[in-house]
């Protein structure tokens, strides 16, 4: 591959990786803080993506579509939390029950999407001014992907600021580190969990909306997106936003390069990366050792 092509693949990988980060950040927060495996995340993305294609349109309506998707994500995520809350005493510590419950919720959300949109794949047109391509030597890079990556980066910075510079962020970090201690200082974990679920859902929804012109909305995404989010969280270490960030970029770039260099085993390269990293650091790149 020529230098231009390397740069192009890198750019493709980074823009996808940044989108992945938005997705995975919600997942890693609920997992790290609440020790809650929220498998419904994939279906939250799916429904939000469909909503984005429904509400979104040409011109300024695009922004409306993205916001609507974010809102959908927030609402659905809170709904999942509400359902889990009903049986929290049993679910709180039993990961298998969490898996069963949230997987069931995923299936229900996915069926709602199938029923509402006839199971047909849909797409969203990006705003006209972002429709062009930038030349990287001989190759072309779509302008929208740069925008998508940029938007995700902005949100990532926002998340970083939230986590490092606000009280809320401090509480979340403390809760991830040692929840018993946090509760010992008199801070109730419940409102914190609610906020984290809401935030995770909002980010997943925004990712779905931003990604709609590239990824579209189609049945089956609830599983493919879930697997990717899972890979990122496992790789980066549960609860660590920095870990999720690095892992997302690594997965995105590995995926793009894998497809370009060895297309026949493209899907394997991502998983191979996971295996290698976990063999080296079982708790993930930035994960905390299990207590």
């Amino acid at each position: 591959m020529s230098l231009d092509e390397w740069v192009l693949q890198l750019a493709i990988g980074l823009s996808f990786g940044l989108l992945l980060f938005l997705l995975a950040s919600g997942f890693t927060l609920t997992f790290g803080l609440a020790r809650f495996v929220n498998l419904s995340h994939g279906a939250v993305f799916l429904v939000a993506a469909y909503v984005a294609t429904e509400v979104g349109g040409p011109g300024w309506r695009f922004a409306l579509g993205v916001l609507a998707a974010g809102l959908t994500g927030l609402v659905l995520s809170l709904a999942t939390y509400g359902i889990a809350r009903a049986r929290w005493s049993r679910l709180g510590s039993d990961e298998l029950s969490q898996v069963l419950l949230t997987f069931g919720v995923l299936l229900v959300f996915a069926e709602v999407a199938r029923g509402s949109w006839e199971g047909l794949p849909r797409s969203l047109e990006e705003p006209a001014f972002l429709g062009g391509s930038w030349a990287i030597g001989d190759a072309s890079f779509p302008a929208y992907r740069a925008f998508m990556g940029g938007g995700a980066l902005l949100l990532a910075f926002g998340l970083y600021w939230l986590q490092e510079r606000t009280t809320f962020g401090a509480l979340v970090r403390a809760g991830v580190d040692d929840r018993e201690m946090l509760e010992g200082t008199g801070i109730s974990a419940r409102p914190l969990f609610t906020s984290v679920f809401a935030l995770g859902g909002l980010l997943a929804g925004l990712a779905a909306g931003l990604g709609a012109p590239v990824l579209g909305a189609s049945m089956g995404q609830e599983f493919s997106i879930l697997v990717l989010a899972f890979v990122v969280v496992v790789l980066g270490g549960p609860g660590s936003l920095l870990g999720a960030f690095v892992a997302s970029l690594a997965v995105g770039v590995a995926d793009a390069l894998g497809k370009a260099l060895i297309p026949t085993v493209a899907e394997f390269t991502m998983m191979a990366l996971v295996i290698l990293v976990l063999a080296w650091r079982p708790a993930g790149l930035f994960g905390l050792a299990e207590r």
Partner: protein, 394 residues
Amino acid sequence: MRIVRSHSVGGRHALLAAVAALALSLTACGGEESEGGGDESSPVRVGVLLPYTGPFGLYGKPMEAALRARLAADGNKVDGRPVELVFEDEATDPKVAVSKATKLLDQEDVNAVVCCATGGATLAVAPILSERKVPQLGPIPNPAGLSEYDTAAVAAPTAAHDAEVLGRHAAGELAYKQAAIIASDFAYGKEVAEGFKAGFESGGGQVVKQVFAPLGTQDFGSYLTQLGNPDVVFAGFAGADAIGLVKQYRKFGVKSPLIGHGPLVTELVLNAIGPAAVGVGAGFYYSSQLDNAENKKFTDAMSENPKFIPSHFTAGAWATGSVLLDAIGRAGADTSDGEAFAKAIRETEIEAPWGPLRFDQETGYAVAPTYYYEVTDEGGKLRHDIKGEISPSS
């Protein structure tokens, strides 16, 4: 709390039980009488396996509606003989298809089975139906492989056939010299890629690159950048993948014209693709824009449902209905003889929404024209602009 005299409650229950038992026994008797018939006046029962759930689940209901509509157009009878359809869900899963097919044979006593809309299910069910000598009729293009079963037929050409004809057309009429192929990395994509390559090379062209993307790929960037800039690019994708591929095609600097097998720009995904579809060419046996009497009859009958979008799925189901009605009429009492019925099906010649339909007696697949069309924007709506039928010898 009211006290109800126990014997009247018991009496009511007993009466209900008796009525229920009577009703059940009546329906059981009714069922036996309507068994797929051995004589010319008894009903003909046809099992239909469609995907109502699973990845292809979106096709089940529309195809059922089209098949029912075709039969209803003839009053659900052939020469006064009722034709009954029994629908089952194959769930886009060959294992489920096999168990449902067995159910249709054993419990529903069907004379023929329409199967299936998914290649895997079709091939899984074929040996069972063949062994029991029950005719099988595929409603849409299926993978090659049914030809070894004498009792099987498909009311459509194979996907490879149309792709090959398109390949020859691309090298011939369209005069492209070099082509690159990008297709979905599973049975369908591989089949059309091979078909196109065979046709293109036989027409004097040269295939310079082949790229395969996994089924369900959402981001085609890395694959599109490998195509270079040949004279033409052939794409073999369906469903959500088709949307992604066509939308992202120009974005990665590929300047070559894009042509594909029908499903790439089928009506079902055309609107989701949007303006990026304009100018894309396709070779296929059906387009909703075809101007003939049967197609008009089909689209008129179906347009009562505002959500209806015509496509080869529903057109195929409609044509399957036509084939069944015609074959039953000629088979008469022979509908209970599997091999005779299958022969009658293969000898059918009818008008389908895409033109004349007849079966290749050797393989059982339909012989149908291949049309070349391009997507155009007519007043904001995306349409197929049919350039014409590709002559088989071009």
